[in-house]
Amino acid sequence: MRHKREAKITSPVITLGDDSYRIMSIAGFVGIAGLVLAFVFALVFHSGSAWQRFSYGYLVNFCFYTTISLGALFFVTVHHLNRAGWSVTVRRIAEILAMAIIPMFALFLPILLPLLVGNSDLYVWNQPGWTAAYAGHTLTDLEKLKGAYLSSGFFGIRSVICFAIWSGMALFFFGQSLRQDVSGDPKLTSRMQNWAAPLMIIFALTLVVSSFDWEMSLSPMWFSTMFPVCFFAGAVMSGAAAIALVALLLQRSGRVTDEITVDNIHDLGKLMFSFIVFWGYVEFSQFMLIWYANFPEETFWFKYRTWNSGWMIVSIVLLIGHLFVPFLALLPRTLKRSRKFMIGATVYLLLMHWLDHYWVIMPQIGFDGKDYAPFVFSIVEILSFVGLGGLFVAIFSFIASNRPLVPLRDPRLSEALNYSNT
């Protein structure tokens, strides 16, 4: 065939190698220091509600990094579901990011354990008799059901099940992929493809449950069936952005320079673009229905986020920064094919995704069922961002360690290497 690259790995360096230990130690140190500092600052600046402030900041960042991991897991699953060829070379990075979901469960414990011992600083539904207090009237059947659903024990069980399923999926795809590096057996690809469809269904269900549990139940009387879709859209967008960012940074450090082509980056850019539009679409759908129906039991959630002067600014920044700016910036082909631009774009999109979680979670702090507390920005959230970010990077380099950062003997490797966005 004509000008065809052989299905051969030609980059000189394809692993993190010894650098992984260095990254692990530095990032781990930054991570622990960041979290400790976040807690200290919470004690200093929010002495009355230090644990609450810390928990909220922690939850924002936990959701941020977990959704990156879930987005990567989705990427791997949908890659096999579609029998995709173009994404083979970036799939290993996605697999490693998806594997991070296993240690993320340990980082979930600071949220889960206080809940199990009866702390209600984060989730107000964890205090007895909350339904009656929040409803302010005779309970409807729906509210009784919510009261039964939102209990710490059931919440814990659901979380464990979700994490178990995701961990299983990540382990399965990562394990099969690593085995294929050795054997080159195309049957492993078939097996992953066969499993991708049922796993995708399970993944969707667990994502819905966890988005309800982690974020929507912060405002337990509010409900929106569109909410998990928004959560999902943000997760996939940030997953694609993280994969592209990791790939670009690895290439900057001289790794996998030949395998991950500019067409891969271009395609990841297209994926990000599509999920930016999708995010805007579903966020607007959620807003539109609530705005139009105008039921007080739904509107209060948006009312506070748009009428409160501080949160209104965040809302506008989110609308412009998460939708309009990236829409226009990722539209031109030349920009999506520029590695330098894409590093900036992915970092920007990840920050916007962080702001999305911040916008969903933080207004609930100090909400007592009727009134919200005023907007307060705190360094605690920033420090948790740095702290959990450090731990996330450490986890990534621990999983990557000496493993190849690109599938070595995938049957579609040649297709990916020769792929071109005409």
Binding site: M1, R2, F284, F287, M288, W291, S420, T422
Partner: protein, 509 residues
């Protein structure tokens, strides 16, 4: 097989050109896409500009190989899409009457308590307009850039080219290319690995649309005439059949009638009630007044002098129900009726500005609501009145002389009794009705009713009692007895020429 018979044909074709066809290019056939890609690169590097490649499927990299610049279609679509934003939002802005337009009054409906102009409600429509116009822009722009539609292509007359949609790859270099030279180009093409090279000729003899196509066009055109013909027939014919109901549950919906009391019969079985008291709408809360309904200005809203005593019909002695037998009784009845009359205003309420515009408005409303009975000049000779009288007089009951006619004649405003009525009383008549005349209070706004009163007064003032004809009516030339108010047009005045039978002469009643 293909390549064997190609050579002689081609050689003959361009050594002895037939006058009825013209060489327009050379077509080279390749066996796989890579050969085609290579050939494209060769053609480009040999300096050819006017050539095209044909393949059964999209070939990756062919654009670069052919040196095709990136299309400007995306920018075209982007421009159209941005225009669609303006169109979609502007359309709704205009339709919601956010802007005054003399051409289109707009729908200023408040829907679900939202402002007339509200951006979130407009986004879905704007989005759909963007999607639709972008699709059209992409599709039609692609056609335009590819110079489509094209009804015929000389390539389709080449037998081997049929495989271009199956398993062969083709490259055509056009004769209009400055580098083109039939022999040299053919050699080059063979050098690039062409399995066969063939001349492409434009047939100059046959520029007519094929007969089959013309027939199809004719039949299609005739068939297209069918729907309008059927519609025309349906419009000009009667059909005794009941109309078709495609969706009976939409035509006969199970629903509560507004302002009803009583059940909705769902499936004709279960009576459904909306509120516990079986009514469908709630009455206004006691002691509340609707916005704008606090009508405290008694002069303006009832035509009664402010501060005067309003007689209460419930405490007054009942009026006799039988018609008065003699003059004494009639006088007593008139007195009793007069006692029930409140003190009507004789001047226009202070809240109104009496000016020419109000007279014009009054004429406008009068000609809509009043003229059908009272006539244009207020003589009580409107068409409805005339027809009703005719029907009443000619009715069998009337001929049998058992009852009176069931129609009370419309009053002439120029009747001396009517002419001296205070304006408050006229206003009350319009508002609440009298005798056969129904109440108009719910249909005509307060200020318009006063405007009608003003117009009635101006009609009365302009009235000159026409002289009684002294010659037989039939001999009166048209217009001779016209002594109509100046603001009544001649044609309107002619409607009551005094040539009709006496029963239609309602004047002087």
């Amino acid at each position: 097989m293909v390549s064997t018979h190609a050579h002689p044909d081609h050689a003959k074709a361009h050594s002895a050109p037939r006058p009825d066809s013209e060489l327009i290019g050379l077509l080279a056939e390749f066996e796989d896409q890579d050969a085609l890609l290579d050939a494209c690169e060769h053609a480009r590097s040999s300096g050819y500009k006017k050539f095209d490649a044909y393949s059964p499927f999209p070939v990756h990299g062919i654009d670069q190989a052919m040196g095709i610049r990136r299309t400007m279609l995306p920018f075209f679509v982007l421009a159209i899409a941005l225009g669609a934003v303006v169109l979609g939002v502007g359309m709704q802005w205009y339709a919601n009457r956010a802007v005054f337009s003399p051409l289109f009054p707009g729908f200023d409906f408040i829907i679900s308590g939202k402002p007339l102009w509200s951006l979130p409600a407009n986004i879905p429509v704007a989005f759909e307009v963007i999607v639709l116009s972008s699709c059209f822009a992409t599709f039609l722009g692609m056609w335009y850039l590819n110079r489509l539609p094209r009804l015929a292509n000389p390539l389709f007359r080449i037998e081997r080219f049929k495989r271009a949609s199956d398993d062969r790859f083709f490259l055509m270099i056009e004769k209009s290319d400055p580098q083109f030279d039939a022999d040299q180009t053919q050699e080059q093409m063979r050098g690039w690995g062409a399995a066969a090279v063939e001349a492409v000729r434009l047939d100059l003899t046959d520029h007519q649309i094929p007969l089959g196509l013309r027939r199809i066009g004719l039949i299609t055109g005739l068939l297209l005439l069918l729907p309008p013909a059927l519609i025309y027939r349906a419009q000009h014919a009667t059909n005794p059949e009941p109309r078709l109901h495609f969706m009976p549950d939409m035509d006969w919906q199970y629903r509560f009638g507004a302002q009803n009391v009583g059940p909705m019969w769902y499936n004709d079985r279960v009576p459904q009630f909306f509120f516990a008291d079986k009514s469908v709408m709630r009455l206004p809360v006691e002691g509340t007044v609707p916005r704008g309904g606090l009508e405290t200005d008694i002069e303006l809203f009832r035509g009664i002098k402010a501060g005067s005593k309003i007689p209460d019909p419930s405490t007054a002695p009942p009026l006799p129900t039988t018609p008065p037998a003699d003059e004494q009784e009639a006088a007593a009845l008139a007195l009793a009726q007069a006692a029930l009359e409140p003190e009507w205003v004789t001047t226009f309420p202070a809240a109104l500005t009496v000016d020419q515009a109000m007279v014009e408005r009054g004429r406008d409303r009068f000609n809509i609501y009043c003229v059908v009975c009272h006539g244009y000049a207020g003589e009580g000779d409107g068409l409805v009145n005339e027809r009703a009288l005719e029907l009443a007089i000619n009715s069998p009951i009337q001929k049998g002389a058992t009852t009176n006619a069931t129609w009370t004649k419309a009053k002439s405003f120029h009747d001396p009794e009517v002419a001296k009525q205070p304006i408050g009383r006229i206003f009350d008549t319009i508002t609440n009705g009298r005798s056969t005349m129904g109440p108009y209070g719910s249909q005509i706004s307060t200020r318009d009713r006063w405007a009608i009163v003003l117009y009635v007064k101006s009609l009365q003032k302009a009235w000159i009692d026409p002289p009684k004809p002294t010659i037989p009516a039939a001999n009166v030339p048209p217009g001779a007895s016209d002594a109509r108010p100046s603001n009544v047009s001649p044609t309107e005045g002619k409607s009551d020429e005094k040539t009709d039978p006496p029963l239609l002469d309602t004047k002087g009643n």
